[in-house]
């Protein structure tokens, strides 16, 4: 902390809290709703929480500290939408990160707790098309009134990292462990090299599939590809 900053803080009578104090307090209040956190530098915290626990987190913050609401940033990840709620807690910038799927595309408004979020949420709704539940004034803010509602300027198409031609193979690979058939050229080359014509596939034995899928989950391949384990297909296609 610089000398000037210290002087200003002492003059303002601000009790400085450390980064880890805030994180531990939120972890204690929210328990398993805090997914992870990181403190990359002094006076800067990122806390990833579940979207359902957002109101609870903001309430918990304002019960103990008096956070200043700074702003909300929205990031479009293609298949997911990420909202970052920035708060200033006695000189610490606390960022609550929430990620929700674009299929849901809804989150609770924090307008009743932080009134200044009203126009920022309206702007995010304009540009990204995110719906805020129980918003007091869900109207246009910066887009013209005759702007088509399905067209949002900053919203990316609902697509993951996998290009269209590779989506079907990836889907079958994750769900069954089998890739598409190999060309005869590859088979001939394998025979020449003294190998069996096709490699030992996971789908050859049913017991191998769970282990294969476990590796997929451990390497986060299913998340990167955007695979839905319940429906057993990609979330976009």
């Amino acid at each position: 902390m610089g000398l000037l900053q210290k002087e200003v803080f002492s003059r303002r009578g601000i009790n400085t809290v450390t980064e880890i104090e805030i994180v531990k307090y939120l972890q204690k209040k929210l328990k398993e709703d805090v997914i992870n956190y990181s403190v990359p530098q002094e006076r800067r915290e990122y806390i990833r929480i579940k979207p359902a626990a957002l109101i609870k987190a903001v309430k918990a913050l304002s019960e103990k500290y008096h956070p200043r609401f700074m702003t909300i940033s929205a990031v479009d990840h293609g298949i997911d939408m990420e909202l970052l709620y920035h708060f200033d807690v006695d000189g610490n910038v606390v960022t609550l990160q929430t990620t929700f799927s674009k299929e849901m595309n809804e989150i609770d408004t924090i307008t009743d707790l932080m009134r200044a979020a009203e126009f920022i949420e309206r702007e995010i709704n304009d540009l990204f098309g995110v719906k805020f539940r129980n918003h007091p004034k869900p109207e246009r803010l910066i887009l013209p009134r005759d702007w088509p509602p399905e067209n949002r300027p900053l919203r990316k198409p609902h697509e993951g990292a996998i290009p269209p031609s590779a989506r079907l193979p990836v889907e079958t690979l994750i769900s069954t462990g089998c890739l598409t058939t190999m060309s005869s050229y590859v088979k001939r080359r394998r025979e020449k090299a003294g190998l069996p014509p096709s490699p030992p596939a996971v789908c050859a034995d049913e017991e191998w599939l769970p282990e294969f899928q476990k590796i997929m989950k451990q390497t986060n391949f299913d998340k990167k590809a955007g695979y839905d384990w319940k429906k057993k297909k990609l979330r976009y296609r």
Binding site: R12, H66, P67, R68, M70, R115, A116, F119, L141
Partner: protein
């Protein structure tokens, strides 16, 4: 207004040590009154003095005996008898700017679109006298208190306890 009701009148007070200069009060004011984010169209302004490193808010004090009302040639500015808030009647105002010149802190401002003077109305008709700037201010630098409490606050802050 009677002496008692003056003491009960609700006014804004401002804590400069809590203010961070985020200007959300100005945004909220312009958004409520004009539906746009334009800081020039706000009835409240926050300033930063680099010499003393302190903030100051320019906000209408809703004086007990307002000079703006006294100077208005068409009697467009009146003190509300029930609440004590000083308001400009936009239908009567002729846009002569006299109130802007006579006000010590020049709180009324001239709206070029409507060609009339405008000032803080305590968000009265829309929000029933609960100013939006107070709600938008999350560091709680703005507060609504009774006039009697504000007297003590200002005496302490500007005269350092002098009676």
């Amino acid at each position: 207004m009677a002496e008692k009701s003056i003491a009960k009148q609700r006014v804004l007070i401002y804590y400069p040590e809590r203010c961070t200069g985020c200007k959300y009060c100005e945004i909220g004011c312009a958004l409520l009154h004009f539906g746009e984010i334009n800081l020039e169209k706000s009835h409240i302004h926050t300033l930063f003095d680099e010499k003393t490193n302190e903030f100051e808010a320019l906000v209408c004090q809703h004086c007990e005996d307002p000079v703006c009302a006294a100077s208005c040639p068409v009697e467009a500015i009146v003190v509300d008898e029930k609440t004590g808030w000083v308001k400009i009647n936009p239908m009567k105002c002729i846009g002569c700017k006299t109130c802007i010149y006579v006000c010590p802190s020049s709180m009324p401002w001239f709206n070029r679109d409507h060609r009339i003077a405008m000032k803080c109305d305590f968000c009265d008709p829309v929000r029933d006298g609960k100013p939006i700037c107070v709600e938008f201010c999350s560091p709680r630098a703005l507060e609504v208190v009774a006039r009697a409490e504000a007297w003590g606050f200002f005496r302490k802050r500007y005269f350092q306890g002098e009676e």
